[in-house]
Each structure stands twice: as structure tokens, then as C-alpha cells.
Symmetry: C3
Subunit: 273 residues, 3 copies
């Protein structure tokens, strides 16, 4: 089932508009190309409405935001929503500063996001309007574990119901939920946290997956999470002695480039609750 | 002949000022270093005139433009022209938005570019003042093929005559033309389109090549195109099972780093029309 | 002794706020993760005081500065100093433009930097208030060599005494000095200069080292220099035929990822003057 979702990306080659941070933007572009999508970046208010109009989806990532890019996020989000496009929010660092928290919450108030994807601390911050993080990483106290899984699934479903968005919470255990069903996914490797931007990359790829699968958005979002995690596993297996996080980054993107439906279906580890 | 052009880059180590997008800027810097040039980036209006004055060439790339960087492009372009420096325009996404099209056309009106390099859709947009693209990629309907080659060569020569610039149109077949001669180049691999920024990288490198070869600018621009395409072929031959676009990116830059005159002369595939 | 410094980084996982250029920012983030630190980037004036407050150190790098980011540097620098955080200045391109020179000198006037790290031309510019560079690389005439070493050591100590900062001057021979002791370090490879941003990467990593070693700041700064240089040596040994600067970049970051105290202690090449 999930394998079909990546085939649809490769066949449809969805164009994705990204308003994203300058730290990880190159990797986001290469991951979008690796999975079969096509990236375009623009964050100037006078440019974004035109650009988002020719795309199928919009990926808004609030890392390294500034006043100009925030204005662009509101304009592009409104235009994309008006056109019925997929719009994803990645609330990088929500909880780490008032500006980030307020921007994420403000965007949620104005834009009917299709998907919201973040780590557990960021998503909790969006839910409550305030929170704590360790910079751009989740607070250990918030982590989703076997012990806290039931509560986390209920939290994800409730937030999906409240917002109307698919909620994707990523970490050691990933949750991808709408109001009624929650994918609990266990693909991935802890070493992925030692590479900058695997979350940003996932958000870009997830946007493409949801655009290319309009009748199966929840499955598509889950398929993107499984693709990223499985690529992390495949890339890790290929690591040679003396290699580290920089080569691992390349190996993960390479594994996405080579991912096909059969590999994804065989390697995806999830249950639906 | 073309091999001599890269030797001159390695001997001259030209300093190139880049006002370029934040998506591919790191690769542009590393490609400039790989070919023997030296990169510097600056896009603040108060900074760019000083910076461009100490350089030999200026590479203006309009991807991820904003109002501040547009102002910087005009200021730097004017200063570089006044100093007789090589100035290159890469009209990324011209045709995809009014701001990008207007900026590219407006810059062409004020700055006597030495070279203009883009894909066929972007260059057609500059020629007509409007156009269509698939985001930052060329529209398939515009593609230069064996069937449309004669017309495309005439188009390139005419635009070169009209603008006074060398026109470089890159795709499956690349054209590098002044008003009288057109290099038709067939180096490269289709998989290069699955890496973000090979066009941006080429524009940076081409600026260095033209700076280092003031008496053979057309040959220098063609040599840069052949170097990029040949590096794409050499990089592809070195690909191992399981590798994809991220490693391919590294292998191409590595191949540029190792390119010498003899390899370039032996591997360049072109005719002059 | 120096090996202990990297162990403290791995154990403490210091969060470092970076206001840095968009050319090399991704590598700075991955190097911080490789050495055991944690990066966060923010350059919006309304965001930086919150962000720097949750961090242990602040890395200010003036490459690709603009008026907004300059304002952010002053605000973040003041807040970080007020909180007693480590604050590092990397004066990229000081001497190449009036704006860069004035910004670096102006920041030094307002912020009591813990460390200032640059190439010899940049540091001389800060010392005198003016200077010359070859873009972002040191002027050959300024190079620290065996012949000029005694004078350079005296210069570094005098500038450290005058500014109250640890002065790190990197090149073929690296100097890391406070007012009384100067580490003279000879790790590294000349080919590191063919990769963009090894200096920026070092500044990010050095910030983490100094944060994690509050009682041995000079040793920590020297340990960061040795780690970078030794990683350059280890990465070079692992280079395969046909590889170049792009793969070398990955191999250096990988070597930092795998660096441990014993390897650093065995490989560090320095004397103290």
C-alpha cells in the first residue's frame, strides 16, 4: 500500500514550493529530487504568490525565519490554500523563542494546513501555545516511548481533530495521525539525529508525497516517514569504517533516490491504531 | 584548445563575486574552488560595490531573489561593468514569476552582460519578455533536440547579436554562441538533472573561465560547459551500486577538481556552427 | 590534555547559537553535530535574544552579512555577554570591504568577545582598523611562516592582551593565544583551503569546545584547531583515486565524528610559547 505512494510521486513529479531555512535547504532540494519531486524555493513576498501558483504543494518551515519570510509565509499560505494546494507546516524551534512560537501559532490560525510535522516538543508547543525545547531538538522529557505511546496517540488524534490537519510527530517512534487513525512507525536509526536537517528533508518529501496521492493523504504522509526511516536504515548498512555523519547524509539521500515500491513495502515497519 | 582555458583558470585563480541563491550556494563555492577559481559571496547593497571591485568577475543568479538582493544586483552589476569586469546573468526561474522575469529583463536593460546562461525556457523568456517554465526546469515543449537544432542555433546567434552577450543555453544539447559562431555541445548525463544546482554551479564556473581567458571568451564559456558535462560523465562512471544523486553531486565536483587540459581536450564533444 | 576537551564536548553537548553566512552554514551545523555539540541558527533581530538565551555560546560570523543580520549580531552579542556566555567572532572578509571591516571593529568595541578567530589578514585588519585580503583568503604577504613566527606570536599575545579575547589565527601554522601563552599548531593539510568553509566550520566547533571547557578555554580553543587539522590529515589519508574537494569535505567531517580523546592526544602537533 505505502509502496504505491512513492510510485505516484515518481510518476507525477509534483512541483513543491519551499519557504524554508537556509541551513538545510540544499538537502531539502536534493531529497525532493531523489524521491521524484521537483523543488522550487522562494521567500520574497512579491514573488511567492506567483511561484506557489505553479506548484502542487507548499512546504513552510520556520527555521531561520525573518520578518520578510514570515510575510511571505502568510501570503503564500493564503494563495496555496485558495488554490486547494497541499500546505505543510514544519514548526522548527517552536517553543525555543517567542517569535517562532507566535509565528507557528499565527500561521495555524490563518492557514488550513494539510499536514503539520514536527518533533514532539514542537507539536506540544503548538497544541498549548507555549512549550520548551532543547533548541531545535525535542526535550527528552517529552519523548514518545512504549510507556507513553497510548497517550501520545490520543494526543495526535485529538490535535488532528482540532486542527483538521494530519499530524506527524517524528522521533524514535513516529506518529502520523488524522482524527481516527494513527500510523505508529518504527523505521529509522538514532544516528539520523546527528545529521542536520533530516526533519526538514522529511517535510519537503512529505509535501510531495501528499500532493501526488490526493485520495490517500494519510497513507502518503506515513509513506514519506517510512521512506525516510528506511533510507536511514539502508544508508547505515552501507556505512564503511571511518565514515560519519557527513557521508551518512549522502547515503540516506542516495537510498531515497533508489527506493522503489517493493523495497518500501518490504521494509516499512508500522501498525495502525 | 578548450583544455587551455581550464589551465588559465588554474594559473590565474580568478576571484569571482557571486550574488546567488541560498539553495545551491555552497556547491557553487566548492565548484569554483574545484576548477581553480576563488569564490566570494555578498548580497548586501552597502557591501557589494567594495566586494566586486576586488574581484575579476561577477555572477548574478536570480534564484531566491529578494528586494535587498535585487538592489545589490543592480549596484554590483553597474560597478563591475564600470570596471570592465566579466558579468554573467543566470536568470533562474525567469518565466515562473513576474518578479523574476522583470528582474532579469530589467538587469539586461541596465547592465551590458558578458554572458547570459540559462535553460531554453528561461532564455526564451528573456528574449520575448514573457514565457513559461516548469518551475526552475525547462518546459519540455521548448527542448533543444536534433529536430529543432537549426532553429535554436539561429535563435542563440540572433539573441547574442541583439544583446552583445555570449548566450549559453544548456540542456540535453548545449549551445554557446556569439553573433557569428555557436558551439553545439553534447557532453553530460541526463541524471545531472536530478541534482539541484548543476546549472548554478556551471554559471559560477563559467564566470571564472571567462575571467581567466579574456582573449577567448566564447571558447572559455564553451570550455566551462564541456568541463561540467564531462565531469558529469566521469562522475557517473565512478558511481557504485546503491549510490544516488547526493553522492553523484560529490563525484561531479571531484571530477572538476581533477580535470586537466588533456582530459578536457580528449573528452569535449562539440561542433561549431 | 587536549583530548579531554573533546570528551567534555561529547558529554556536555553544548547548544551553540550561530549567526553565520549562508554559504557554509550547513557544514557548520554538521560539524557541530559531528563533534558532539548541537547547533541552532537565527539571524532575525526579534528572534536572536530568545535563541541565544537558551544556548551556551554564540558564534558570530560576518560572511554574507546584511543590515538585518548586523543588527541581530549586536543584539545577540549583548544578550550573550550579559548572560556570561562564550561569544566568538569570525571576521570573514574583514579588510575586503568597508562594511565588513567596520562591522567587525564595531562589534569588538561593544562585545567582550571570548575568542576571535580568523586568518592572518583578517586579524591584522582588526588590529589596525584597516587591511588587505584576497577576498576571504589571507594575503600571501601576511602568511605566518617559520621566518615570521616569532613576530606573529608576539602580535597574537599583544592583541589578546589588548582585547581580552583568545586570539586564534589559522593558516599553514596556527596560533591560539592569550596574553601569556601561545599554542603554535602544525596540524592540517594545504588541500583544506580548496574546500569552502573550513574556517567557518572551525569557528562553530571552537565555540562548542570553549563552552564545554569553561576552566580551560585556551586549551579548548587549541584543541578545536588540532581536531580540525587532524581531521584534515585523517580525511586526506582516506582519499581514493579520482576523489576531490567535495568528497574531502565529507571525509573531514566524518573524521571529526569519529575523533576521540586518544586519537586527538596522539595526533595533535603543537608547542606552547
Amino acid at each position: 500500500m505505502l509502496g504505491n505512494c512513492i510510485e505516484n510521486v515518481r510518476n507525477g513529479a509534483p512541483l513543491v514550493h519551499n519557504i524554508t531555512n537556509y541551513v538545510t535547504v540544499n538537502d531539502v532540494a536534493n531529497v525532493l529530487l531523489a524521491c521524484g519531486g521537483s523543488p522550487i524555493m522562494s521567500d520574497e513576498p512579491e514573488d511567492v504568490e506567483d511561484i506557489t501558483s505553479i506548484c502542487g504543494g507548499l512546504n513552510i518551515n520556520i527555521g531561520t525565519l525573518n520578518k520578510r519570510s514570515i510575510e511571505a509565509m502568510y501570503l503564500a499560505g493564503a494563495k496555496a490554500s485558495e488554490l486547494g494546494h497541499v500546505v505543510l507546516l514544519d514548526p522548527v524551534g517552536a517553543g525555543a523563542s517567542a517569535l517562532r512560537t507566535n509565528t507557528a501559532v499565527g500561521l495555524m490560525d490563518k492557514i488550513p494546513f494539510t499536514v503539520i510535522r514536527g518533533n514532539i516538543s514542537e507539536i506540544k508547543t503548538l497544541s498549548s501555545g507555549s512549550g520548551t525545547t532543547k533548541g531545535v531538538d525535542a526535550d527528552v522529557a517529552d519523548a514518545v516511548t512504549e510507556d507513553t505511546l497510548n497517550g501520545a496517540v490520543s494526543f495526535a488524534k485529538a490535535l488532528a481533530a482540532k486542527t483538521g490537519a494530519i499530524i506527524a510527530i517524528t522521533g524514535a517512534i513516529d506518529l502520523v495521525s488524522d482524527a481516527t487513525r494513527c500510523f505508529v512507525i518504527t523505521n529509522g536509526r538514532p544516528e539520523m539525529g546527528r545529521i542536520t536537517g533530516t526533519g526538514c528533508q522529511l517535510s519537503g518529501m512529505m509535501t510531495a508525497f501528499v500532493v501526488a496521492n490526493p485520495d490517500a493523504k494519510l497513507e502518503a504522509a506515513a509513506a514519506a516517514v517510512c521512506t525516510m526511516g528506511l533510507a536511514g536504515e539502508i544508508g547505515w548498512e552501507r556505512m564503511q569504517e571511518g565514515e560519519g555523519n557527513s557521508t551518512y547524509r549522502n547515503r540516506i539521500i542516495d537510498a531515497i533516490y533508489n527506493m522503489d515500491a517493493a523495497t518500501l513495502d518490504a521494509g516499512a515497519k508500522y501498525e495502525i491504531r
